[in-house]
Symmetry: C2
Subunit: 278 residues, 2 copies
């Protein structure tokens, strides 16, 4: 299943380990494993901050020498009431502050599902929710990365389901405040993908890789290691680079079998597949 074309090997200093790839591990254990395996960048998740607390996590990350490519996630904008909207807004403000304290300028937004059937209203709330965060974003020096999720998540995770849609939202705001995240797993199916990657030029804040396994019984948990599925990762990486993105590429894999592997097996495998397939 691996591509056979001759090509320049991607240097592994582009690899950022997104923490969901090692979801069963503690913060310190993952930081140590990255250091041990020469991985210089990490993508953090907010639920993992509970482990050591925010201040101690920030200290541990600095002590590890790792750069932080992004913090995931803010968002979940559609709400049923004004009270809920205020709670969500305050939580997103905290997420922005956390990103700044953790030393990353990118907060990934998972925009949230509709609270009822009304997708149009939900999508309006996403735009309004982002707009309301811009003062905090600007003062914290953080950029919001709108991540389109695969349409299979529309009902439960995100009404933003295509890169075209993420691009249209980002275009409403200055590029230093709002951009997009391109996650291969979420967008690989899209017939407009390569056009929209070009449209995203100057707005791409992150590129995430994993793979789409076949068969894929559970789309939420069956992301695969790069090379184990059907996504044309190399083609997509070249397109993202043509659009000007040369930053970290996060390996983000939701997959229980990979979570259960020893870190000293997963990290070398991710590095090797990163070079072979991305």
């Amino acid at each position: 299943m691996l591509p056979t074309v001759d090509r320049e090997v991607l240097p592994t200093d582009r690899l950022s380990l997104n923490q969901m790839t090692t979801d069963l591990r503690g913060m310190q254990e993952t930081l140590d494993a990255c250091a041990r395996h020469g991985i210089s960048t990490i993508g953090l998740w907010r639920h993992k901050l509970d482990d050591l607390g925010l201040a101690e996590t920030a200290r541990a990350v600095r002590a590890s020498g790792l750069a932080v490519s992004s913090l995931c996630r803010g968002g979940f904008f559609p709400v049923a009431s004004e009270a809920d909207r205020r709670l969500r807004h305050a939580d997103n403000q905290r997420a922005i502050a956390e990103a700044a304290e953790l030393g990353t300028s990118v907060l990934v937004l998972v925009c949230g599902p509709a609270v009822d059937r009304d997708l149009e209203a939900a999508r309006r709330m996403v735009v309004e929710g982002i707009e309301a965060l811009l003062p905090d974003t600007e003062s914290a020096g953080v950029v919001l990365g709108v991540e389109a999720l695969h349409p299979v998540y529309t009902a439960e995770r995100s009404v933003i389901v295509s890169l075209a849609q993420a691009n249209r939202i980002a275009a409403l705001f200055p590029p230093e405040l709002v951009g997009v995240i391109v996650d291969a797993y979420h967008v690989w199916w899209d017939p407009c993908l390569y056009d929209e990657i070009a449209v995203a030029s100057g707005r791409i804040l992150g590129f995430h890789v994993s793979d789409w396994l076949v068969p894929s019984p559970d789309p939420l948990m069956s992301r695969g290691m790069m090379g184990d599925g059907v996504i044309e990762l190399h083609k997509m990486r070249l397109a993202v680079e043509s659009a000007g993105y040369r930053g970290p590429i996060e390996v983000e894999i939701f997959n229980r079998a990979i979570w259960e592997m020893p870190l000293d097996d997963v990290l070398p495998l991710a590095k090797a597949r990163f070079q072979e397939t991305v």
Copy 2:
């Protein structure tokens, strides 16, 4: 979960029972149940023809007095070799002939997945495969209905994943030979849906309804009865009608729990929900 707006009730003579809704039942049993419950139209599947054979099925359908809204499915165009392409083409020619013999002018196309990672090549093969069928289509008086499947099926069922894409393919050919099928389950997530329904005007050959359940652990089998999920079916039906489609609306539900219900429960439930939610 049901809409509360006052509105004209949809007459049940618009309802066509797609045979996948009663997949565990034999052909004659389903035909009899439709007659018993005043359902005047059926959508047939080719794998069900094995039950009685083609000629006997055609006779049984005529004897039942039911109209046939469509036959599913032709397609699966992307292939790995010229030999495979010829086999697939011949099978699609048979599907066209079967549609004509069964008394429907609509053959639904499920276009097929890529044979390897190359989506672009697969999508070209879809267009070429359709083009090659046009002489048969024309002489049989059958129209090909390109059905966009939900992107979750990209790897295993269809590289055609949005109504925009189906519309672009259909637009390459005369409307009396190629049109599109709008299946609510497959397209409800799409931010361009209502624009593309308008674009499809004059090309819509069928409208299929079911619902998207939450949570939906298995996207292949968790379609729900209309009203049990999150799809804005009524809004979509009005849009499809504004685009000029006034034909049968197929109730097509892949769901084991519904398959296992007695037909004398399923059909009245489908009729009631059809009126309440579509």
